[in-house]
Symmetry: C2
Subunit: 230 residues, 2 copies
DNA sequence: GCAAATTAATGATTTATTCAAG
DNA sequence: CTTGAATAAATCATTAATTTGC
């Protein structure tokens, strides 16, 4: 237990920085991979980052309650409650869903977010999560229905599958197409790392798009954050 | 089947764009929720985004055999290969892991990425994934060990738990501390959306940090992408 | 020795679960 | 109870390590 005790100290205090080219173990008996990127092999000063305690700032906390020493409770966002979608937003999202969209990529998320932003505050992650949740819940809802249908069939319904028709009722009463979005269809979406040259014309005409030398070609992507630091 | 046929067409072709104020189904007759953020209630032109086909480029087919002119080493992955960590990077990551880090937050990921960047190309998502994978694999490795230990115990070992001591052998032969990182510790990390004012001094001295008006206060975060568009 | 074939690791995604706000 | 948010588990996919046939 209390491993975290250690962990804490590890960062806060001196703890004898493992400094220098980390003589860390050998990780694989193979070529040193002389690709050290040429840059000076900076010593990697451990103390230079990760200051757990200075973490989540939680600015603007109402009346700054959180006493100094106390529960780093941290969380409880400032005023940040969770996304509360508007009717229009939900409508658009469902439309997209019915249109077949299931796991929008970075570009798509960005654009959708931009569009939905017209109807209320929203962030990319909200869009991302919405699709994740909606897909999952539609799936389990479907499964539940199927199970029930098969399970307590009063004995009259055909005992064999009866896969149910391709149309079913949405939670709001809308008729939606039964998606058999096969679990694990996998095909490895590639990460594209540039501001979509394609869509650009939509976002804003060919104005000077602040070339910026790719310095700001940051990228949204499905599962996490990124800063394109080539 | 072939719903995707439809889906595809939905985006690619005309398909009678549901244009304008998404006349799509009735979404529910509700108040326009006059918080439309002031911007004109743009009609939400569906065609304006989501062009699925322009997605995965997959340039740089393998046979291109690394064109003559120099290896841009840097980009190395013109076509986008996956991150290939260097010894130093792995070493640091493992050190952090042993130090107790399991799920670094956005700030931490950013900083770690910055540091590891000294030793080779790397992105935030790589760090994120590394911790995800490493944590999961350490866990299953541990489980496997435990299972085996209990399972085919030659009969001599105590039949009751014998929880195993807190130290165990790493796959590489390293002695590591047995982490009892409780599954589901949950506590809702908050999203902080500003360039860490705290650590700034480490990243780069108080140089003009390109204030940029928060326009670029994009943010890394655990599970996906974001652009702070408050 | 060396390159194709095979296997072991592990990076990257997606799905399943769980937590918790409202 | 619904659902946004977050994490864990499952699994796909690519690269390196290793083996094998020459």
């Amino acid at each position: 237990m209390k491993v975290h005790q250690f962990a804490r100290g590890f960062w806060d205090q001196q703890h004898e920085p493992p400094s220098l080219t980390l003589g860390c173990k050998r990780l694989r008996p193979l070529a040193p991979k002389l690709q050290t990127s040429g840059t000076d092999t900076a010593p990697f000063d451990l103390k230079s980052f990760i200051r757990p305690e200075s973490g989540p700032r939680k600015l603007g906390s109402p009346d700054d309650k959180r006493e100094p020493a106390a529960i780093h409770q941290v969380e409880t966002h400032p005023g940040g409650t969770r996304w509360n979608p508007t009717q229009e937003q939900i409508g658009i999202l469902e439309m997209l869903y019915r249109g077949g969209m299931r796991t929008p990529n970075a570009q798509q998320i960005e654009q959708i977010t931009a569009q939905l932003g017209k109807y209320g505050k929203i962030e990319g992650k909200n869009v991302f999560y919405w699709f994740q949740n909606h897909k999952a819940r539609e799936r389990q809802k479907q499964k539940r229905n199927t199970t029930l249908a098969l399970n307590h069939s009063p004995r009259s319904t055909a005992p064999h599958l009866t896969i149910t028709n391709p149309l079913t009722q949405d939670i709001r009463g809308e008729v939606i197409r039964r998606e058999e979005d096969s679990p694990y269809k996998r095909k490895c979406r590639s990460w594209t790392f540039e501001w979509l040259e394609e869509e650009k014309k939509y976002c804003r005409s060919s104005e000077e798009v602040e070339e910026e030398e790719g310095d700001r070609t940051l990228e949204l992507f499905p599962l996490h954050p990124e800063i394109n630091r080539s």
